[in-house]
């Protein structure tokens, strides 16, 4: 029998219902693995006591035949989701000791479905980053290593780096992530797992520390498409407490994934082959992905998304603009860090608190956003970026209106890079999101599925993009890709 931590969520659910093992045993196996792999720094706050209590409650419900869809499944919760009574930091010093007296809607939904909290997963500070290096609680290590440089530590991607690393390292069966410009999909690709950014409005944002409100979307990260579908079903749903949450029924995502792709039209956008920074290796993996879908009965068609090249620039106006406003509440007045000395003015307190509380990347984005919204610059930056955003959304709509059912692209332009690369040029870092940002700006669902290993033995994902609220088709195509790719490689860490 495989070890408990190797099971998928779907397998574990069957095992639990068949009483092959208990939720308590499943949770203990993960808590033990978390200790073994503590060096990954995937968790900011492990919650073993809460996990044991929740697992015991799950066992009681299973015994009574009242198991929910995620009953007894131990998961990691990105530390951006507020958890009642459990510290929620957003990866920032400014919320370093913050304990919310409330529970986010998405986490509440997961607990109601029976999921078990293993701990709060590390992330880039306020979800701003693509390497998890901006966390105030230290960087996360990717469990994967290059075959040519096995000792070299790699980044897990970001911002949901702790979630991705934990799922890949089998110290969580699944994890929540949030995705603003690629924060679920890029780390999923870097860590060889599956991650879905649902359609904007599919999951409630209530109780998630806000980065950029018009882009932020919670989503599942797990090791299979089926697990992602199961988890999404538990997370999603209309929430009257979030005005931007869509009043749309939640379908049975998992039920549809095996329908295959025969007859589906898969769009291949020519603009996703940038001249700079795009590894030929990844181009080849993309081509293989197309072949896999064709072999499964889909038709691939070349499409054009002409405004793609402006997406990153527009994103780095819109997201920081919203962030500059969203992060104004961290002022030292009501909660979180306060730095003040006798005789200080209110402005002194603001400067000292925010100066000490925020890291460099967060400060950079607050400054960019403040500048972009300033009188005299608003039209040239924010308004222009919103126009570009509308054009990007129109590009996708045109493609889907022409009969394309789903779009296939690489998730990232390159595989995981080294922690030692110390990328200090922000634009180089931002380029990680070049393939994921357009989908975010258009509010569409995007799924990253691990498809192959690069020559250096690192996982690489492909991205499937769908129509608004058509996660079904995205997951179906993802499942077809997953089957064809038969990606079974594990991080070397777990093979030792």
């Amino acid at each position: 029998m495989t070890t408990l931590t190797d099971l998928t969520i779907a397998e574990a659910r069957k095992g639990l219902d068949a009483k092959e093992f208990t939720a308590a045993e499943l949770t203990e196996a993960h808590l033990a693995a978390m200790e073994t792999h503590a060096d990954l720094n995937a968790y900011i706050t492990p919650t073993p006591e809460r996990a044991r209590e929740m697992a015991a409650a799950s066992d009681a419900r299973i015994a009574k035949g009242e198991a929910g869809a995620m009953e007894g499944i131990p998961i990691a919760m990105k530390d951006l989701f507020c958890t009642d009574g459990t510290r929620t930091t957003a990866g920032s010093n400014i919320l370093g000791t913050f304990v919310p007296p409330y529970e986010s809607t998405v986490s509440t939904n997961l607990w109601n479905a029976g999921a078990v909290l293993l701990g709060k997963a590390n992330l880039d500070e306020f979800a701003m980053g693509s390497s998890n290096e901006t966390s105030a609680f230290g960087n996360v290590v990717n469990p994967w290593t290059r075959t040519d440089q096995p000792e070299r530590k790699l980044v897990p991607g970001g911002s949901s780096g702790g979630s991705a690393s934990a799922v890949a390292a089998r110290i969580a069966m699944g994890a929540t992530g949030t995705d603003t410009g690629g924060s679920i999909r890029q780390p999923a690709s870097f860590c060889g797992i599956t991650g879905l950014k649902p359609t904007y409005g599919r999951c409630s944002r209530w109780g998630i520390v806000a980065f950029a409100s018009s882009l932020d979307q919670a989503g599942p990260m797990a090791r299979t498409v089926e697990d992602v579908a199961l988890m999404l079903g538990a997370m999603a749903g209309h929430d009257p407490k979030d005005s931007t949450s869509a009043p749309i029924a939640v379908p049975d995502f998992a039920a549809a994934i095996e329908q295959g792709v025969a007859g589906l039209k898969v769009g291949i956008p020519k603009e996703y082959r940038p001249e700079e920074g795009f590894s030929p290796e990844i181009d080849a993996i993309w081509t293989r992905g197309m072949e896999m879908l064709r072999d499964a009965g889909a038709e691939t068609v070349d499409i054009s998304l002409p405004h793609t090249k402006y997406a990153l620039a527009a994103y780095y106006i819109v997201a920081p603009a919203e962030a500059s406003s969203n992060l104004a509440r961290y002022d030292g007045v009501r909660y979180g860090l306060r730095v003040v000395e006798d005789g200080d003015s209110l402005n002194d307190m603001y400067c000292k608190t925010r100066g000490a509380g925020f890291g460099a990347e967060v400060k950079r984005r607050i400054l960019i956003g403040t500048y972009a919204l300033s009188a005299g610059y608003y039209d040239a930056y924010y308004l222009k970026a919103q126009k570009v955003r509308a054009l990007i959304a129109r590009d996708f709509k045109t493609a889907f209106d022409s009969g394309v059912d789903v779009i296939l692209t690489p998730t990232t332009p390159s595989a995981a890079f080294g922690l030692d690369e110390e990328i200090t040029d922000p634009v180089t870092m931002y380029l990680n999101d070049v393939f994921t940002v357009p989908t975010s700006l258009a509010g569409l669902p995007g799924l990253s599925v691990p498809v192959a290993l690069t020559e250096a033995g690192l996982p690489q994902g492909l991205q499937l993009i769908g129509r608004p609220f058509d996660e079904d088709t995205v997951l179906r195509a993802g499942r077809a890709l997953e089957k064809a790719a038969a990606f079974t490689a594990k991080p070397r860490l777990l093979e030792g």
Partner: protein
């Protein structure tokens, strides 16, 4: 203004005559049970920080959800101001840091307010009317309250008010005198109270005014630089602030200086304004559409549903009082200021002479209420009883003079006038015999005066009337007394 008549309010400076240009921004607290974007209560006077939701305190991850009742109140107010209702409007964030602003921004409306242009008719004390344009009305959140006097070195924050719905009602720069500004505020308050959308209590801060003032030489058509006097909290202070600010501007211009656009505060104790912050220190509010909220949209049916529940508003009521009841414009405008007073008047005037009823209500009853310092709801005289009193005069049961006495007794005892008249025997004497007897007595006691009248000094007849009335304790019918006196003395 409809036209540009010769200015009625002119300030004379050393270099000539100046007129004042005034625009008002009124913040009116919406009457609603819950706040604009949260379910917390809005009751005034609760313990500090006892009415604060997670949203109001801007806890991480909290999101605003629009309160439908506040939207209805804004539309209702827009309809009352005969304004254009925008079926799509947008909430925007106004960003600035302050300790009592938990989010670090105020959710307001900027480019697309819920209500567009409308009009307000001023009822001036001389009975004339002026029209002032309404520029817009938008919904926004109130901030909390900072208290700097509770601790020697610390400031305290009360967030009870944080998130309470306000309507900002912006006039066009159409007013030209402190009196017009005062009339504007009183009329706006009257309409808001009729509509039940704001209680209009300036002393409790539920209605506050920012006053924009500039001056220009009489005859100039362009506008000179304006200053904004913030947060003035009574009609009287608004009028004083305008005068002080206009005078300051004239002094600056006439001494060769330039008025600088800035925000100022009015100090009622000193009767002057002082600078709060200059244009250079002005906030850059970085307005942008709030991404947490979808555009606010509603259809005709929503607006029509609210329109159907509107009460008769003061202007319509005033017109009706003039055309149907026959009141003067002045009397009509006095009676319609307060809806309850207008209702009271209508109850008194029902099936009676309107002008008589108006006289009693305005001259007599309002005087009594003023003296007692109470509102119409606590009037010691009910509308029913005041009406009965008028009936007693009309059917000659009592004279006008006795009526005054009866009224005073009504004020004191709250009793019905017919009871008072009956119990105290105040009925008018219409018995010719009794009156003749009284006349005879007076004539017998004053033969010299009788002779004088007969000799042509008919003015003295009035004196006789008085004597007879006195002899009958005012109960004699004065008309009958006059007739009989003439007959008896002059034959």
């Amino acid at each position: 203004m409809d036209a540009t008549p010769a200015p009625t309010y002119v300030l004379s400076g050393e270099t000539g005559d100046w007129e004042v240009v005034i625009g008002l921004e009124v913040h009116a607290q919406v009457i609603s049970h819950a706040k604009l974007f949260s379910g917390a209560s809005t009751t005034f006077g609760a313990d500090p920080n006892s009415q604060v939701s997670l949203v109001d305190a801007a806890m991480p991850g909290m999101l605003p959800v629009i309160n439908r009742a506040c939207v209805e109140q804004a539309v209702r107010t827009g309809l009352g101001l005969r304004a254009h209702i925008n079926h799509t409007s947008v909430f925007a964030r106004k960003n600035y840091f302050y300790a009592d602003l938990p989010q670090g921004y105020q959710i307001s409306q900027y480019e697309l307010p819920i209500v567009g242009e409308g009009t307000l008719i001023l009822d001036m004390p001389d009975g004339s009317s002026r029209t002032v344009g309404i520029e817009r009305l938008h919904l926004e959140q109130d901030a909390g309250k900072s208290m700097h006097d509770q601790h020697p070195s610390k400031s305290f924050i009360d967030l009870n008010r944080s998130g309470v719905a306000l309507m900002e009602i912006v006039s066009k720069p159409d007013m030209r005198s402190p009196e017009e500004a005062g009339a504007y505020l009183r009329k706006l308050r009257s309409i808001l109270r009729y509509l039940g959308t704001c209680d209009g209590n300036m002393e409790e801060g539920s209605m506050r005014a920012d006053v924009n003032v500039s001056v220009r030489k009489v005859g100039e058509t362009g506008l000179r630089t304006r200053c904004e006097v913030k947060n003035v909290n009574s009609v009287r202070f608004v009028m004083q602030a305008i005068e002080a600010e206009a005078t300051r501007h004239i002094e600056v211009w006439e001494s060769g200086g330039e008025v600088i656009q800035e925000t100022r505060l009015f100090d009622p104790a000193k009767g002057e304004t002082r600078s709060m912050r200059s244009k250079e220190e002005a906030h850059d509010y970085r307005y942008f559409p709030d991404p947490d909220l979808l555009p606010l949209e509603f259809d005709d049916a929503f607006v029509d549903g609210i329109r159907a529940t509107l009460p008769e508003l003061p202007d319509d009521k005033k017109a009706r009082f003039i055309s149907d009841v026959g009141l003067t414009p002045y009397d009509a405008s006095v009676l319609v200021v307060d809806r309850r007073e207008a209702d009271f008047f209508e109850a008194v005037a029902k099936d009676r002479d309107g002008k008589t009823a108006a006289n009693w209500v305005i001259s007599t009853l309002f005087g009594t209420l003023n003296k007692m310092g109470v509102g119409i709801d606590e009037s010691p005289v009910s509308a029913e009883n005041l009406g009965k009193l008028i009936d007693l005069i009309a059917d000659d049961t009592i004279s006008g003079r006795i009526a005054k006495d009866v009224y005073e007794i009504m004020v004191e005892t709250g009793e019905a006038p017919d009871t008072i008249v009956e119990e105290r025997g105040l009925k008018q004497v219409k018995d010719t015999g009794a009156i003749e007897a009284a006349i005879d007595e007076v004539m017998a006691a004053n033969p010299d005066k009788v002779e004088q009248v007969r000799g042509g000094k008919e003015k003295l007849l009035g004196w006789f009337t008085g004597q007879v009335m006195k002899a009958t304790q005012g109960k004699a019918n004065p008309g009958m007394v006059n007739d009989l006196l003439k007959k008896k003395i002059l034959g």
